[in-house]
Symmetry: C2
Subunit: 256 residues, 2 copies
Amino acid sequence: MSQHRHPGAPGRAGAVPALPDLPEATVARLPEYLRALHNLADTGHETVSSEELSAAAGVNSAKLRKDLSHLGSYGTRGVGYDVALLIEQIENVLGLTQRRAVALVGVGNLGHALAGYDGFAGRGFRIAALLDADPSRVGEEINGLVVRHIDELATVAVEESLAIGVIATPAAAAQQVADQLVAVGVTSILNFAPCVLSVPEGVDVRKVDLAIELQILSFHEHRKASLTALPATGGSALTALPGGFAATDTQEAIGT
Amino acid sequence: MSQHRHPGAPGRAGAVPALPDLPEATVARLPEYLRALHNLADTGHETVSSEELSAAAGVNSAKLRKDLSHLGSYGTRGVGYDVALLIEQIENVLGLTQRRAVALVGVGNLGHALAGYDGFAGRGFRIAALLDADPSRVGEEINGLVVRHIDELATVAVEESLAIGVIATPAAAAQQVADQLVAVGVTSILNFAPCVLSVPEGVDVRKVDLAIELQILSFHEHRKASLTALPATGGSALTALPGGFAATDTQEAIGT
DNA sequence: CGCGATTTGTGCACGTCTTCACAAGCGCCT
DNA sequence: AGGCGCTTGTGAAGACGTGCACAAATCGCG
């Protein structure tokens, strides 16, 4: 919406950290760019063009440039982007400079897997506590952390300056857990339970649901089957195994 | 933009596909509606208004009506939607009438959790096989299924008429697994590995990534922190660390 | 020093999604 | 039968996201 940028006009320099309000779609893609950039940095690249980076992140190059342009001008025309600098800027925008404490509630099947997931530490997050309502699970040690009872949530929140809550409980318990998280000041929740959470304004909830993803795939599978069963649509859509690898991935962001 | 083929007698396939052609955004929400509808059916409701259903699914009522209108007119003005009928229609559109076989590749931390996930059977899916490349894992029994070696994929595909592949391997192995899945005819992949998959046209890939979700939440958390630090709230906004929260405990701001 | 090769940043047009607002339709009650 | 309240279905408008195409900027080299 705001495109009133005056080129070259020094005017009022933004002394403030200037939080640009990025489009949500852009925010959702930044983590993917970040991972691609880390891969590049690990393999010794110092600069990268929008074409290369966009390929590594699975998006269109124009989209990538527009996304990055929202953060400011951190590229060099004719050269590309400085990998290290861009990593720094994206991490800064995403707020990954501070390591955020995550509480994982629900140490069942999925909770165990999440507790053992090594993607936390590597990406700016720290599991501050494992919590469960089942007394028989309290005390169990997982990945170096001891499971505590959910009633200790308030204590944990203070001790660890809790930032994010992850709900991996059955659906029936999820709302109650969400209420408890909100009550101790958590304003960001990642919900793995198959249900809709109702939270106060200002609290962000993101949802991950395996069944939903499968059902969406099922729809497309169903549609593809219907199309191949019927003739006269477009050209020869008969090939069961397409030969051409155009590297066209239609991967989509999830949620909202 | 829908040029139709022969209306009337459709040769084979029987099910008279009305050729959905639904907006992607609508497809992504249908599973949520479906779950809400199942909950309603279980609690004895026979009809439901768009207002109620949309609240249960966590969306706006106008959006829900427009979504459902794409399926056809299955509501009754002044009354609402027939729950059972709507369930049937949505399941039909999503292709859930046939139970699809899912192959789960990668029986590590996450794979174990997914193998034990009970949301498969309840929602029209069936784990047809557990596969892994690690010989030390082959033979292990999980939830009544024996882990087989990935080299048996071709056999499994034929035996079970495989429809969907789920990748729960480390990122380094994901692309190779994807290639193998595609090679045996799988055209829908759900990828939990933190990497971009390159697949031929016609193959759908959906991605689920815990780290990305957390980073998106981190961004919003970061932004919220910046906002509360900046505007004059009147109180002492000097605290560098948001230790004291206003604690907007007023639950039930059932969102938008 | 200027020129060409290269790549970013962005104006613009287009398509998709969301939201509002309201007419059309349905059932119930009098 | 007729009116009234309720709810669906949808046209229209606006917000949002995407992709093209190109000018502006930068580097390397002769």
